[in-house]
């Protein structure tokens, strides 16, 4: 059960959204804007930190799913239709090389997108906290 007794460091709606969206937070007991996991022996995290973490986790899983589709398609294509990889769709370079380079470049693009999104998310929380004077 989730219970919010104080909101010194983050806005309650952020915290509520965080708790509502992420099933991982179900066993957490939220007290004085700090989150403690049942049975947890490690450090206690601030609600802001957990919110950022769970938000990043959701974004990460979505981007992971996108990459998995492209990687899986590459592996299945190579395994079951290797002759397709011999086609030269562009600049006289075959699909095997284009796809391989694409997977490497795609990993970097998604990584940068992830980094940028996470940074934007953290900044938006900081600015929202600053606006309502709740930032410690």
């Amino acid at each position: 059960m989730k219970r919010i007794t104080s909101s010194n460091s983050v806005r309650c709606d952020n915290l509520a959204a965080c708790a509502a969206h992420v099933s991982m937070l179900e066993p957490f007991v939220i007290r004085q804007c700090r989150i403690r996991f049942d049975g947890w022996r490690g450090p206690i995290y601030t609600a802001r930190r957990m919110f950022v973490s769970t938000r990043n986790s959701r974004i990460g899983l979505a981007l992971f799913a996108v990459y998995l589709v492209f990687y899986g398609a590459f592996v299945l294509l190579a395994a079951f239709s290797p002759q397709t990889m011999e086609a030269t769709p562009l600049a006289g370079v075959n699909l095997a090389i284009w796809y391989g380079f694409g997977l490497i470049a795609g990993a970097l693009v998604l990584a940068l997108l992830y980094g940028w999104t996470c940074r934007q998310g953290a900044q938006s929380i900081d600015s929202a906290d600053a606006d309502d004077g709740s930032r410690p």
Binding site: Y67, T88, G92, A96, L110, A111, L112, C118
Partner: protein, 578 residues
């Protein structure tokens, strides 16, 4: 080929070693506490950590193994590059930030953060040791393989040399010196790979008339005499050594030389050319004489640049489902294995917070991805360099460098040594952490002060280093890439299910994690030991008599790890919890 020891290579190598040892000694004072020794106090800047990721990850298998495989078989080696890089997506999107948030010194810390269970520490500690040892063996074997031709020293000397230097690095300053060694190695590897690639493109391609007709033979007599192409082996008068290979027999338009090529033009021209590769056959006569014949095999470039030419991947062009599943299983294990390698995961503890962990992984992906793109150019450049040793694919990258200049050869050889140093340092540190922090302390028999813990970890580093030296000498005949494949499969099967389910399923129990780690590890090891590849290459038995349908375990044993965790967690969930 009979390689002459290169004085320049020895000088450059010694310079690298002196810098490395000096750095370790200087940084030693920063690693007095266990937080300093295991995690560099979490104060490594994220950019440095990102490049160090590349230095840690790009092992001898990546640099020498992949380049050699591409040089001998074409595109298939690049499949490893794609799989190894793909694994970093799992590391960034799924594992990086939680690892930093949950753990302290070792992989087991993160796995055990919720339950504080000695059983989890024990299981994860054992898994860390097993994976690290599997990964250590090929690195040490690779060190010996490099030393033999480059420095003119016996294989065992190379293994002992690398082992001793790495023990010094790890014992003096633990993660602090390991990080900086990996940073230097990662930077040098990427910069000089780029230099090689630029030189390859600037040189372009040229044909070698008559290259396709030169069969070469090695005859080994029972009395130990070796004959090469009909004459005694050696460099003296009347003696012979193998001719270097790696030629183009025809270029598009039947031109003799292309001149400098652009990055895409390089592939387009090669696609339309004909390259001479070599097949080898071994025959043994009744008197025990062994004859190895290397026969030139002109192949269209379009065939070289497609998947399915290497013996391991040939099956994808056949009709056998088990061959295709073997390929899928390998690519699956490479994808899942990276985020499960303990020596990679402990690098997340060296930065200050989750944001730094994320940023350093992005830098790592950029460096590693860029390097893997370059492997295709370097491998194909070596294939057409006219400098290859037909008997040793691991030497492809250094010999490619020698085809440009002796200095570049010396630098690339020294970097190859540093490549081994960087990766082995990380592996020994991960193993020492597992032995002291996970296994010994989790037993509850000893309670160590911080100072004692560091001393014990240093002692464990020495022991693991000595074990690694012994294994490197013992397994010198073992195929190195074969063992790296084992390490990835075992890591992915044992560690990934527990880590992922802990993060994303609240029903995960302590017993579920322990069972998943042990069952994943045991099932993947058992599969490997019963596979056709092991039957053929280790036991010397026919591959057809293997007890499992294909060699790569990942596609079966990783799901087994997940299924075990779910089943045991459901069976052991606390009363009243639905």
């Amino acid at each position: 080929l009979i390689h002459e020891p290169s004085t320049l290579a020895v000088v450059v190598f010694l310079a690298f070693v002196i810098v490395t040892l000096g750095l370790s000694t200087y940084l030693g004072r920063k690693a007095k506490s266990s937080a300093g020794y295991f995690a560099a106090h979490g104060q490594i800047p994220w950019f440095v950590n990102g490049v160090a990721f590349a230095g840690d990850y790009l092992s001898a298998a990546s640099f020498l193994g992949i380049c050699g495989m591409i040089a001998f078989y074409g595109y298939d080696g690049f499949l490893y590059s794609i799989g190894y890089l793909g694994g970093w997506v799992v590391a960034l999107f799924v594992v990086a930030e939680p690892m930093k948030r949950l753990g302290k010194f070792t992989f087991a810390d993160a796995l055990n953060a919720k339950f504080n269970s000695p059983g989890i520490k024990l299981a994860a500690g054992i898994s860390t040791l097993v994976v690290s040892i599997f990964y250590l063996i090929p690195q040490m074997v690779g060190a010996g393989v490099l030393v033999q031709p480059l420095l003119g020293l016996p294989h065992w000397v190379g293994v002992v040399l690398v082992g001793a230097i790495v023990i010094f690095i790890v014992v003096t300053a633990g993660m602090v010196s390991t990080t900086w060694v990996q940073f230097i190695k990662g930077s040098l590897l990427i910069v000089f790979s780029l230099v090689l690639t630029v030189l390859i493109l600037a040189r372009g391609f040229h044909t070698t008339p008559g290259a396709a007709s030169e069969t070469q033979t090695i005859v080994k007599q029972p009395d130990g005499k070796v004959f090469i192409n009909g004459r005694p082996a050696g460099n003296g008068p009347g003696e012979n050594q193998l001719r270097p290979v790696g030629d183009i027999s025809r270029l598009p338009g039947d031109i003799a030389r292309t001149g400098p090529l652009g990055p895409l033009e390089f592939f387009r021209v090669l696609q339309q050319s004909e390259v001479v590769l070599y097949s080898s056959t071994i025959t043994r006569s009744a008197d025990g004489t062994e004859t190895i014949t290397y026969t030139p095999k002109p192949m269209p470039g379009s065939q070289i640049l497609r998947p399915g030419e290497h013996p391991m991947f040939k099956g994808i062009r056949g009709g056998s489902l088990s061959d295709k599943l073997n390929f899928i299983s390998l690519m699956f294990a490479l994808f899942c294995g990276t985020a499960s390698l303990p020596h990679i995961l402990i690098r997340y503890y060296t930065v200050k917070d989750e944001a730094a962990a994320r940023k350093s992984t992005i830098v790592g992906i950029a460096c590693i991805g860029f390097f893997y793109v370059l492997t295709l150019y370097m491998g194909l450049g070596a294939m057409t360099s006219g400098a290859l040793d037909v008997t040793d694919s691991n030497m492809a990258a250094p010999l490619l460098a020698r085809s440009f200049s002796e200095l570049l050869f010396a630098v690339i050889s020294a970097i190859a040594f540093t490549t081994v140093l960087g990766t082995v340092s990380g592996l020994i540190l991960a193993s020492a952490g597992a032995a002291t922090h996970d296994l010994l302390e989790s037993s509850g028999a000893v309670h160590l002060t911080d100072h004692q813990r560091v001393r014990l970890a240093k002692l464990a580093s020495i022991v693991v280093g000595i074990v690694a030296i012994g294994l490197g000498i013992r397994f010198r005949e073992m195929n190195v890439s074969f063992l790296v494949g084992w390490a990835f499969s075992v890591a992915a099967s044992a560690n990934l299910p527990a880590l992922v389910m802990l993060l994303f399923w609240t029903g995960t129990t302590r017993q579920g994690i322990i069972a998943a780690v042990l069952v994943g590890m045991a099932s993947s090891l058992a599969w490997i030991l019963l596979s056709g590849e092991t039957f053929e290459k280790v036991y010397g038995l026919p591959a057809a008599s293997a007890l499992v349908p294909f060699s790569q375990p990942g596609i079966v044993t990783i799901p087994i790890g997940f299924a075990t965790l779910i089943a045991v967690s459901l069976a052991t969930r606390p009363r009243g919890v639905r």
